[in-house]
Structures are given as C-alpha cells and as structure tokens.
Amino acid sequence: MAASFGNDIFFASISEINAQLRAKKFSALELTRAFSDRLDRLGPRYNALALSLREQALAHARRVDVELKRERFRTLLQGVPYGAKDLFSLPGHPTTWGAKPYAAQVLKETATVITRIEKTGGILTGKLAMVELAGGPMYRFPSASLTGAGLNPWDRSRWSGGSSSGSAIAVAAGLTTYALGSETSGSILTPSAFCGLTGLRPTYGLVSRHGAMALSWTLDKVGPICRSAEDCGIVLQQIAGSDPEDPTSAGKSFYFTPRYARAMADIVVGFSPSDFSDLPEEAARPALQKAFDDIKALGVKIKEVAIPEFPYGPLVSTIISAEAASIFEDLITSGKVDELADPRQIAGLKAGLDVPARDYLRAMRVRSLVQQAFRDLFAEIDVIIAPTRATIAPKTTESLDRLSTSRPMPQNRGFAALIPAGNLAGLPGLSLPCGFANGMPVGIQLVGRPFSEMMLLNMGREYQSRTDHHKKHPEVS
C-alpha cells in the first residue's frame, strides 16, 4: 500500500526523515515521489524550479530502496530528497545558470558536490532557479532571472533574495529537505535570512567548486541551505573535502561532531551595539535584540568590537566585476550578453572589461590587508554576531537600489558590511532565523575564523535547541 504523507514530512529534518526510512515507515521511492510531486506542482508557483529531475530521482530512489532493504546504510543523506541551484552542472540536462543565453547549455561534467551527495544516496529531485549568472557584477531588479523573480513563500509579493533564490524557496516551502547554493557575496546568507532558513557559507576552499559556474574565482563558495544548523552540518560533512579538480581546494575535510566542539563558555563573541539598535529597520530590532540576548544566554563571553575600516563594497564590486568580465568575455564580446534580463547586469559585465589591471590588483592587495585585519580581530574574539540583513525581504517590484538608499545610515555602521567583508576574507558565515518583522523572517549571522565551521554550527545548534524559529514554516498550498 502506498504511504500517505502528512504535511510534517515536508518540513522534517534530515535525521528525522532518514530515521523513518531506516525504520521502513515508507520507502525512498514513496518519499521521492511525494517530494517530486510537490516540487513540480508548487515550484513554478514561486518561480523556484529550473528543471524537474523526477524520473531520474525515482530511478535513484529505487536503487536506494534496494540498499535500505539490505540494511546497507550509508549516511544520513541516504534517501533524502534535495535540490541544487541551477549553476551546478549535471550531464544530460540543461544547466542554464539562470540566464537566457545559456538556456540550452548542456555540460559534460558532474559538479563534484552532486557526485558526493549521490554517492551517499542523496536524491536530487530538481535544479533550482537562480538570479542570472549568480547576480554577476550587479543587478537592479529581483526579476533578473530566466525564471522571473524568486517569490518568497512567506509572502509571494516579496522577493526570496538571491542569487540562490530557488534553493531558499524550495527549502522554505518544503519542496526539498535541503538545497545546495553558492555565494560570491551574500547569495547564501541573504536568501536564507529572507526566507527564514539556516544557511552556511563555508570557508573559501573547503567545498569544491568543480562543475559550478564561476562568477569570481577568488570569491565563489558552495554551501547548504537547510532548516537547521544540524542539517547544515550533516550536508557539509558530505560535500566538504579535497578535490583535485578544483585548484583552490583547501585540502581539508569536515566532520560534524558537535560533541567535540568548543564549550560555549570558552567562546568570545564580538558585536557592535549599533547593529542591534540603530542599523536595522525598526520592526526588525526586537527580534534581533532577542536573538543577541539568546546567544548571550548560551554562556558565551561578549566583547564590543569594531569592524576594521575598509571600503568593502567597492573592493568586492571591483573584484567581481573584473573576474566576471574575464569569465564571461565570450558572452560579452559576442553580443549575447544583451539577452540577459537585467540592463544593469548587461552594463556591469560590459564595464568590467574596462577595469584596468592596476585597479583589480590594487583591490586584491587591499584585500590582503582586509584578511590580515580580520586575523588580528580574531585574535581577540572567536565569533562575530550581526544581523544577516538590516531589512526584511523587499517587494519583488522594488528596485534593489532603493533597498540600499531608502533609509538614512547611522554614523556607526557596525558590521553592516559583514557580508562583503566576510567574503573578501574567505570567512565562514552561518545565518540563523531569529524571528519575524511585519510577518517576514529576520536572521542573524555568526562569522568565524577560516575553517571554524564546527564552532559556528554548534553555536547555531545550541541556539536552535532553545528557540523554535527554525521550526516555523509558511502555509504553502
């Protein structure tokens, strides 16, 4: 008899689903069919689905069921459905990079992260929508995508955030249990915060980028978007590790062992008071302040610190602009760049070809100073805490220019630039849902030293063991 699934299974954790699979409460095939039905039915409603992989997923689920029947257990991801941003290549299917000029592109290689999850029995049910070319150097409107603006499951008139828009929507709406995204400067943390999810930007080099579209070789990172820190740790363990196919691979592995993580009392958390008082939009302040208090209540030490002074925005913009123009030189010079959806994206790519080498190298040299300044800062503290975003998700029709200019900025800007700063320094960052403002999710971010993922995830896990923000989900039908 076919299993019937209640709504809860679509919002269950990886461990819960895997335990039920092992206990034979349902088969991987039944589960995959249920998730695929939901993804195929609801994904387009939120502009989240780039490509359904239903048939391939069902065939994979049958193979997993044979393994489970023989009690050949692999990892907690075995039999659990997931989705991947459409910037990861998968042979035999289009990999569009969210952009019209690549709508029919079929690549030969399989992205390393997809291979790694497949080996553990994780079931890929779909490729997920994204902002075209992962946002490129710049874009003006949330609609800068082959599939249209990502619609937030908490309020379809609002944006999901980008560029990993479909990844965040799919997890928030219970269309997949977790998803893979990528971040060059904010593309995992922002949609995670806007959609009420837990997203991890790993240290640069920890997760292979082989088979992932390059936007900026020196900034791109691949990471998970999940409902909880625990799930992020489980996924990271499988996707992290050395890869000879990725020349920037750090050659490090990651084992999710929270029981061996540092005690909370040994952790010093740095913060800037204005991040919780003046900087966020007013409606978001109570949730952010409460999150700060809840983190303090874990028993960590707290220290007021200031972000090192650098022009983070101009640095990250110059580096992305120059590297993206080189990566997409063919697209730009062929004129096909004009097929992109967002005029600012088109202009930004074209202008990137004119960035002088000296400007790029100056930015990269100043970036060395940024890295040193953060090394110095992390001699005093272990973690930085700040709001992931100072605002809730904007309306899909709103210009993203307005987002950055509509509110007066206070004198002390705290860690407002932590997303570009953290990306420039290659630091890991974890965004945790921490409540709501005007009915929309709000998130805080924890940023640590390179390769301190275990500490960040354990802090997130402890925080989530005392709060229930990560268990809330929108009504989706």
Binding site: D354, D359, A363, V366, R375
Partner: protein, 67 residues
C-alpha cells in the same frame, strides 16, 4: 503666538499640498548607453575609494586563506 493665515498664504499651502500629492511622472528607464556610462562611472568611483587606503609596497595580492 498665533499666526495670521492670509488668503495668499492659504493658497500657497493648498498649492504645495496639491503638488505633493501629484504623482511625479515616471522617469523613463535609462538607455543602454546611459546604463553603461553609469556602470563605468561606478567602477571609477570604487577605485577612487579603494585608492584612499594606504597600501604598503610590500603588500601582495590576496591569494591564500589560512586557518
């Protein structure tokens, strides 16, 4: 202290309020050339901001990330 409201000042207040309520005509979207010029100007402005950071001669471009 009370203020005398003259007919002239009342008229100017009403006119100002009406002007404030009148929707501004929508700005035409920038042309492609304007977009490109703006993108180039932005890149130039970024570089000017970056150039204000004191950069010792010995500093090399970022390449490695250490734990």
């Amino acid at each position: 202290m009370s203020r005398l409201l003259t007919r002239r000042s009342l008229a100017s207040l009403v006119a100002a309020a009406a002007a404030a309520q009148t929707p501004q005509p929508p700005q035409p979207p920038p042309t492609n050339d304007e977009e490109l010029a703006a993108a180039r100007a932005a890149a130039k402005a970024w570089n000017e901001q970056i150039a204000r950071t004191e950069l010792p001669r010995a500093v090399e471009p970022a390449a490695h990330f250490k734990a």
